[in-house]
Symmetry: C2
Subunit: 337 residues, 2 copies
């Protein structure tokens, strides 16, 4: 019968597919704008292979300087004059019109800025901007652990917890650029206070900052030391310190990591159920460091949400530090395809 | 600058919009297949106005008879020969290819059936099938409380709790046809047992069946009667009995409804946050009966999930009994547009 008879053949689907199953596409420049540094790479958006690695510190004197720095780093990439587009991952909510509402980790970026247009003025080329975590999700979907899967959730567990959502092979952004904010899903009503003003959000249990805050609270309340609370007196705690504390058998760390696994299991299970998502790809400092045993801990959590661990597969992220730049480049290549 | 420079101008967006902002479209037939009856209406898919109302009981001798009955009811609609398409809402998971995995409330429908093709054979016309709750979501989005909003969650609270998700003005279905299953989001790990085998799912707190089960459990455990447990001895409990119990000040019902509001607040808030959804439309027996005061109870719940009640507006559904048939008709009209 005629192709329109099935729900699967919507008008959009064909267009979507063709944008991706392209033949060879020229390389594009991908930029990862972070709180401390700006990194630009030349990216083959089909394979995800990145070459060159140009960076400079993120300026501290406001968004105009930051955008200047992005343009400057792009110009250092060999062959940048010949690329057809530039993609930039930005650490703030970016709506579908390329407007960045604010960037908590960039000094002075406290108002909406049309970053795409600003960068196009500086570079004279098409520029696509997207949230950096969303770029990471795109990199995993297209050239990482989610290759070939049409719907997935990416979850990055670092200081906080961020995420990105792919449905029907497309990144979902949302009017307010907030899609994928799994870190602010409530896993325990009235639970630990979150930096956003809420309580019991996933990232207060699974993010490094939340774990450390809790370790310190326990140390001060019980007058008993613990590995993390002791370590932080000597400086910043990184994911490797958490891994070391676990290896050392520190009981507080063991408990905090179980809380983290339970929170991730509840949040991921619920989101996967409502969005019918067969795959969650997990990355970020803590997950990269703890690896597959931590995924097992999540899978086996009694708190696994929704239709359970059989409904959604968990995989480790494959693209580590370069995911932001690579994903941004892929989005730029898609936009001009 | 050129239109491709902004993230908003993806290849799909234009196509999507044009499918909807059509001029006058010829009427189509919409069918709502329920566990007890089949209802067919002639629907103006632009305004949502429905005329005619043909129904017959749902056969109990298997899916082939049920599909025969659907075709039969369609043929009773005046002018059905002239419509360009038929839409059918079905009470089971329907994937994007129009395959219905199973229908728990239809005798013998325990295996995947390509219902669209089967009905096309019987009717000689394009047929679109979709999940009935998803049809309800489409009706609210296009000709109900969600008109003009590009992303929304529909939540229908009845015996159980079902939902539908609209993103970028499109119904999201999912590979497994499970998108919108908010009833099976875990709101309390290890909580009340759910019919699906899980625990603490939203519908065990907010659905009528779950509330009644809990009322009976309380009555048997405490040896104290309560309105719902007493009423059920006399027959089925409908939403109006719950409203009556509330009016009568029955303390158990008051508590159960607070649990229901808390569960809905947690689930809706979380899903709205991750999917960046500005609007949730609530309908179904209990919500229709309790109305705006119940929505207030949800808004004010201390358990409201994610970024809170300011992030997602709650509205009462506008399309009541005809939402399934109207939404199915709209999907059919879209498919042939």
């Amino acid at each position: 019968m005629a192709p329109f008879l099935s729900m699967s053949k919507t008008k959009n689907e064909k267009t979507k597919k063709s944008a991706k199953s392209s033949q060879y596409r020229d390389p594009v420049v991908g930029v990862d704008l972070g709180g401390t540094k700006v990194l630009a790479r030349l990216v083959d958006s089909d394979t995800g292979a990145a070459s060159g690695r140009h960076k400079q510190p993120t300026p501290k004197d406001g968004p105009a300087s930051v955008l200047d720095a992005v343009a400057e780093v792009v110009r250092k990439v060999e062959g940048w004059e010949d690329v057809a587009a530039v993609g930039v991952g930005i650490p703030g909510p970016v709506n579908r019109r390329g407007v960045v509402a604010y960037c908590p980790n960039i000094d002075g970026w406290d108002r909406p800025i049309d970053a795409a247009s600003e960068l196009e003025k500086r570079l004279g080329k098409p520029v696509v901007v997207a949230n950096d975590v969303n770029c990471g999700a795109v990199a995993e979907h297209r050239v990482g652990a989610g290759r070939g899967v049409s719907a997935m959730l990416a979850v990055f567990v670092g200081t906080g917890v961020g995420g990105g959502l792919i449905l029907d092979d497309e990144l979902v952004v949302g009017e307010r650029g907030q899609v994928g904010e799994i870190g602010h899903v409530t896993v325990k009503p009235g639970g630990r206070p979150c930096g956003c003003g809420g309580f019991g959000h996933l990232e207060t249990y699974a993010g490094r900052a939340g774990m450390i805050r809790e370790a310190r609270r326990l140390a001060s309340e019980t007058d008993e030391g613990n590995y993390l609370a002791d370590t932080i007196r000597e400086g910043t705690i990184k994911s490797r310190h958490i891994a070391q504390a676990l290896d050392a058998g520190d009981p507080v760390t063991i408990r905090l990591l179980q809380d983290a696994a339970d929170a991730l299991a509840l949040g991921i299970g619920n989101i996967a159920t409502v969005n019918d998502i067969p795959l969650a790809v997990l990355g970020g400092g803590i997950v990269d460091r703890l690896g597959e045993p931590f995924l097992d801990q999540i899978r086996q959590s009694p708190d696994f949400g929704g239709l359970g661990p059989d409904f959604v597969e968990l995989r480790l992220a494959q693209r580590l530090d370069d995911a932001g730049a690579v994903g941004a480049a892929i989005l730029a290549a898609d936009a001009i395809a």
